[in-house]
Symmetry: C2
Subunit: 201 residues, 2 copies
């Protein structure tokens, strides 16, 4: 498509490079931005530019942060003896939104995946082992995706942690809350039968 | 949701203000941007900032442009005697992508809609009448949405153009190409029956 302006073409290309944004959506977003008043557009620009200049990573847990220590690690009301190991910052946000977790995190930055060329040294595994060795950590909870790569990462990392004798757990696998039995795949259903829990009245 | 960083929170809010982008998508886009390298992020920033600083409107047809005259109006190979009246810049892009139109455009900037407080004076109708009066224009083609507001705008504008005795037309209404008859609403189907065209072998 030929655009009436080079600036628009560049902006459409920029938005198109974002995940899940196609050509039509990109044009829609760009034309929406153009229609905004000067201040609103400047605000958007500033927010994007802050991503480049202001974002740091927490030196303890590798979470995104404004400072050298993220708001979770800096919070004295969190249980610092419990570490939840996640793949990604997005997972931290997901777990935080449940309001069910009061410990701290450790962001690996990915999972071991030889197919994608990601080995243990590309992840923040060594710093996790150091944290457990040097701090008074009681429990490490793995909250990784239930995939081959996630399981491999749990296996490798827990082996590294073995000598520290820290308690290691993984989040429960089973049928989703609200899930209808007939639509659940047979592997999940089989495992949730094997991992049945006593029901108390 | 509580974000680990103020910069991220602001960026998520900024993306959420765009049409069709919800909270989850905004988080996804922001985290994608953060993962990009410095240059890529700077490029995105520059493209957004160019929208504010470099975009102008064509003084002739009110299309978006890099200069005072847009690429369509400045093109000597377009038929300047034929003006297609559209609501929005998006419609210019849509018509340009058909490659079926060789004339020039006039962007009204909306349609007459008393419900939304848009009257004829809020649109570029007067400048269209001036263009027709002062230039050698043969035909004005209305390519507006087939809504009450679109029809009102066509009616009002063509009345203003009446004394110039320019030829006025609207784009054809009927069933869409590839449209299955049983799914077409009865008004469209009824009108396309009334507006039937002779079929030549």
């Amino acid at each position: 498509m030929e655009y009436p302006s080079v600036a628009i073409q560049k902006a459409v290309e920029a938005f198109k490079s974002l995940p899940g944004i196609g050509n039509k959506t990109a044009v829609r977003l760009v034309l929406h931005l153009i229609k905004q008043n000067e201040g609103k557009l400047q605000e958007f620009e500033g927010a994007v530019s802050a991503l480049r200049t202001e974002i740091k990573y927490c030196t303890t847990c590798h979470n995104l942060s404004d400072n050298d220590t993220c708001s979770v690690c800096a919070n004295p009301r969190r249980e610092h003896s419990r570490i939840c190991v996640v793949q990604d910052v997005r997972d931290v946000l997901a777990i935080e939104s449940t309001s069910q977790y009061t410990g701290v995190y450790h962001v690996l930055g990915g999972v071991i995946s030889p197919m994608d060329g990601v080995g243990p040294d590309d992840l923040h595994i060594a710093s996790l082992v150091n944290r457990v060795k040097n701090g008074s950590v009681d429990e490490v909870i793995f909250a990784l995706s239930a995939t081959m790569e996630g399981d491999t990462t749990i296996f490798y990392t827990s082996k590294q942690l073995k000598e520290t004798q820290v308690k290691i757990s993984t989040i429960a696998k089973g049928i989703a809350v609200g899930g209808e039995l007939e639509y659940i795949d047979e592997i999940t259903l089989g495992r949730s039968l094997l991992a049945r829990v006593p029901f108390e009245i």
